[in-house]
């Protein structure tokens, strides 16, 4: 009984973990770029990066299928050069979940970077810091609380991802069937006991993540350092 839930649970944690990591790296990079650079089309880019938050997951899944499928530009490239196929794999599920979770990291990180007083960075430069040192020694530590809170939300979102994941990775038990997809399958099959167990696991997991995120969210650097 427990092992029957353990397989999709572990898979879900693996997919959500990798997806969150991807979303974190990409989200922080884009957030820093848009918070600090001025270039034409900046706000259009911002809208594009936020789009996954408001678009139906099935639409995102469809886009991914078009791009990553055997005949898609990225899919064909990966297949020909590296023999990699992402469709109907757990790695494909990671890409889908990362795309859906990305705006949560990006939005939080951009707000956090914009909240860092430019004079702290200037002070670093006048002390002889390289731009890399300014980022890792000043900007990132001061923005870290906000980024972490966004990352927790992204993880919670990735845990519950359904639509895009189903379209890209399908529902292969033990391989791409995450918790939320397993719940759907259980309900479709009329297996209420299994559905109940899985629903409770997901609910507890999400509440846990949100409580931790709330704790982190309280401490922007201004409050954390009473500045």
């Amino acid at each position: 009984m427990l092992s029957e839930a353990a397989v999709p649970l572990l898979l879900t944690l693996k997919v959500a973990g990798w997806a969150t990591l991807l979303a974190l790296v990409a989200g922080v990079a884009f957030a820093f770029l848009l918070a600090r650079m001025r270039f034409p089309g900046r706000e259009v880019l911002d809208a594009m990066l936020t789009l996954p938050m408001v678009m139906p997951p099935t639409v995102l899944g469809y886009y991914l299928l078009v791009l990553l499928g055997k005949r898609g530009p990225i899919g064909a490239f990966l297949q020909e050069n590296f023999g990699i196929n992402l469709i109907f794999t757990w790695q494909g599920a990671v890409i889908a979940a990362a795309l859906v979770a990305f705006p949560l990291v990006y939005k939080a990180a951009r707000a956090a970077f914009e909240d860092v007083d430019a004079n702290f960075e200037r002070a670093g430069r006048s002390l002889g810091f390289s731009e890399v040192k300014v980022f890792f020694r000043i900007t990132l530590p001061l923005a870290w609380h906000g980024i972490l809170a966004g990352t927790m939300l992204a993880f919670a979102r990735a845990l519950g991802e359904f639509g895009a994941t189903l379209m890209v990775a399908g529902s292969l038990p033990g391989r791409t069937q995450t918790l939320s997809i397993a719940i759907y399958e259980a309900v479709q099959a009329g297996d209420d006991d299994a559905a109940n167990r899985l629903v409770i696991i997901v609910s507890v997991l999400c509440i846990f993540v949100l409580v931790v995120a709330g704790r982190v969210l309280q401490g922007s650097y201004r409050r954390a350092f009473r500045y």
Binding site: N119, F120, R122, A123, R125, S126, L127, G128, F225, Y227
Partner: protein, 248 residues
């Protein structure tokens, strides 16, 4: 100090246009730039520090070119060797007093402080009477302590010029006078040239060997010490009277 400053910078914000056009040759060790807020003092200092690039002009310090628009030279702030003390001090809130002073001296990913650097941090802590506060964070310090930490942080990197943006304005009036005296002693001890901006006439006689009055983006007046200043009651205009006691 030989400071040559010729900068033009246009700013446009919400339909308003401001032009900074400052021409200045300074050869004393203590230049004080005075003017009302919005006159372009801060912008001048930021151009000198390398935070803001002028649209045109030239900046050189002791013969070394820091900025030259026609030759496309713009030495980045980190390579100018110019210390900057911010109006609100901009102490790094996530670092302790000792951390703020030492952070510029740390090397590599391991954030190592070598013997020389560690000794210099200790010197600074002692000199500015911050030993007991070394593990405190900026939010736990008083205004005077913050200012001493900011000065110690700048001087730890041994700059060749120190810029100060209204360094006493964040302090209450009683403390202000004491810090001014401390600062005069400090400057003599380090023998460090400085450029300071202020809108407080009280800073001028004590601190300025050379007074530069900026108004509406231009140098309105220059005076070398000794001089006296007064602000007639009911006006905001500064009257500078040559002669009198020499400033330190």
């Amino acid at each position: 100090m030989q400071l040559e400053l010729h900068i033009i910078k246009d700013l446009r914000a919400s339909g308003r246009h401001f032009r900074l056009d400052v021409d200045l040759l300074a050869d004393t060790e203590s230049v004080v730039i005075y003017g009302p807020s919005g006159a372009g003092k801060s912008l001048t200092l930021q151009c000198l520090a390398g935070f803001v690039a002028p649209d045109a002009g030239r900046i050189s310090l002791d013969g070394a070119t820091l900025f030259d628009a026609t030759h496309r030279i713009n030495v980045p702030a980190r390579d100018r060797g110019i210390g900057y003390v911010f109006q609100d001090y901009a102490l790094f809130p996530h670092l302790t007093v000792a951390g703020n002073i030492g952070v510029a001296l740390q090397k590599g990913w391991l954030r190592r402080l070598d013997e020389v650097a560690r000794a210099r941090v200790e010197d600074m802590l002692r000199l500015f009477e911050l030993q007991d506060l070394r593990d405190n964070y900026p939010s736990q310090l008083s205004g005077g302590q913050r200012q001493r930490t900011a000065l110690a942080r700048s001087l730890a990197t041994q700059p060749r010029l120190l810029l100060l943006d209204e360094p006493f304005s964040a302090l209450d009036p009683a403390l202000r006078e004491r810090m001014r005296q401390e600062f005069v002693e400090l400057r003599q001890r380090f023998n460090l040239p400085m450029v300071m901006i202020t809108h407080d006439p009280a800073d001028l006689e004590t601190l300025a060997q050379e007074l530069v009055v900026i108004d509406d983006g231009r140098v309105a007046r220059r005076e070398t010490a000794p001089f006296k200043v007064e602000v007639p009651q009911g006006t905001s205009t500064l009257r500078v009277i040559p002669g009198g006691a020499r400033a330190a």
